[in-house]
Symmetry: C2
Subunit: 347 residues, 2 copies
């Protein structure tokens, strides 16, 4: 089959690799219908996260079960399924608690020795614990299939940030980051009943999507000016709930400064940089909480799925470019250069 392989920074190739097969009785093999490129893949692309030459890449996909191991009970060939961005055994204490990202047997697609999502097929460990079944009818609905793909990462991650930030009915929410996760944070905040959603972003194409998703205000300024603008919109107080979807020191600093006393920051941007951007003295004086991390999207799919199926929540607009499997390297380039927001792959 064809799959995406990273050889070095800026060296992404699509190559012929061995077809995946069931290796353990708890495995399944999934033929990929939709995959995509994540903002976090760019860290590897830019050489800011280390990868071994030849590692697979991509961690978001949905598709059809091609083969299921003898101990897989929940799935059989032909089932339409979505995979969260980590696999998990479904049996351990952490899985039972809904923190599948801490499953001791779990792992990330594209880690050494495993398949990545940006390929024609994927061997899925612990299929029963990992995969979630989708209605077969969705396979023939192009828009819906794209929306469902967001359940593998960005929608669940935006939701995790909103939950971490303590978004409640009537809350004022601010979202730092206008990437796909930030935009899904807007969508999630709206879904959880936020009354006012302030999106921070300078790219009009993106902030237009934010408005479609429920943002009531857009702040295009950066740094201190952005902080001032959010304060002005919130009677000087800041937002009850702040979604941090970037992961740099500067974005975290902004997040702290625009949070209302007693509020919380839900952070899902993978931390990068040597410092934290957190001024603990300020957080202490103002009782600002920090809650988030790698999103256990497996736990959220059952909750979010009905709203995506009904169309009440539609994250599909975050995908603004589509490529075939051979177009993946170009897709990375487009996202790296910010000419694409999020690239959809139809292998």
């Amino acid at each position: 089959m064809r799959a995406t392989v990273i050889h070095a920074p800026h060296d992404i190739r699509v190559e012929d690799v061995p077809d995946p097969v069931v290796q353990l009785p708890t495995d399944a093999v999934v033929r990929v219908l939709r995959a995509c490129i994540c903002g976090s893949d760019l860290w590897a692309y830019r050489g800011e996260s280390a990868r071994q030459p030849g590692q697979r890449i991509g961690h978001e996909f949905l598709g059809v079960v091609e083969e299921a191991g003898s101990e897989v009970n929940g799935f059989r060939a032909g089932d339409l399924v979505v995979a969260p961005f980590v696999w998990s055994d479904g049996n351990c204490e952490y899985c039972a608690e809904g923190l599948q990202t801490s499953c001791p047997q779990g792992g990330f697609w594209g880690s050494v020795g495993s398949d990545g999502g940006q390929g024609e097929a994927v061997r899925v460990p612990f299929a029963d614990g990992t995969l979630v079944k989708l209605p077969a009818a969705a396979a023939s609905d192009d828009r819906l299939l794209t929306a469902l793909l967001a359940l593998s990462d960005v929608l669940g991650t935006g939701h995790h940030a909103a939950v971490g930030a303590g978004v409640r009915r009537g809350a004022t929410v601010a979202v730092v980051g206008d990437g796909a996760v930030g935009l899904c944070g807007v969508l999630a905040a709206k879904r959880l009943g936020a009354e006012r959603i302030i999106a921070l972003g300078r790219h009009q194409v993106r902030t237009d999507i934010a408005r479609t998703f429920g943002a009531t205000d857009v702040v295009a300024e950066r740094g201190e000016a952005a902080v001032e603008a959010v304060r002005e919109l919130t009677r000087g107080q800041g937002a009850h709930a702040v979604i941090e979807a970037v992961g740099t020191e500067q974005s975290m600093r902004t997040a702290v400064e625009i949070t209302r006393d007693g509020g919380a920051i839900g952070y899902v941007g993978v931390p990068h940089g040597s410092g934290t951007g957190l001024d603990l003295g300020v957080m202490f004086d103002r009782n600002i909480a920090l809650r988030g991390g790698v999103a256990p999207v497996r736990a959220y799919i059952p909750e979010l799925l009905p709203d995506v199926l009904s169309g009440a929540v539609d994250p599909s607009p975050v995908f603004d470019q589509t490529v075939g499997i051979d177009g993946v390297p170009g897709g990375y380039k487009a996202m790296d250069e910010r000419t694409a927001l999020k690239v959809l792959i139809k292998p």
Copy 2:
């Protein structure tokens, strides 16, 4: 009257100062029956927090209302009252939400121009918003009066840490810091139903109190060895809820390392040091939350008071030395040299 004044690091004096009077109609004057010295007063004593020469000091006291301004409705002369460590107007949005520490009209005892708690009397701004009435009978019960004094700071602060750490019935809790606040964190965790409470501390006098307060395990090691010990006690996982009651980089680092995936750190140690001690990468991967800050003890007094009155919760053992007003400088010295845990003042 006599009151404690700080002139310079290690220069604490008890001096004659003007008697406090009602200046605004919302003021009351309280004659102090019990006050005490706080671990955070030592930051000023050691010169690590700046003070203007001649500032008053002390922020924990209870006593009897001597005079109430014309607009004070809830109190009159003779009432026994306890004061939280900040005053607050009781009318604003933040006070209504129970975050009195963020009241725009609030302030700290001993800040420039205000009385400190370590004196014979205190002018209390916004008496209706600030003070809480105690049963008159408590005045004749020496042990109870001492226990009630803990409501002004350490008990409410320990409770804030426990709430921030998300202590729930059945939880495993670890407490970093064996000072009065850490010990009150043990008490608060026990009160909230923690099943297992691991106290980290090297001073047996203190860890003995921790055991009296409900600690089920004591870890006397420090640094990496302490982390190992907590992990061993928790099947390698760490504690669901960690109370951080020190405020140094090292203690915060320990707190992060002993928190279970998906758990939370409730931090109430005033942050000191140039770094945070937070490894955001670890916190992100393991979904560890950070929640806390300066405790809105005014909000907690009504909840905690019945249990202190009934004796179900008795923080009085944290006071292990008693002085009169002229003994205050010696009390600072004793706490600085750790020969006293917490010094009670009977002016």
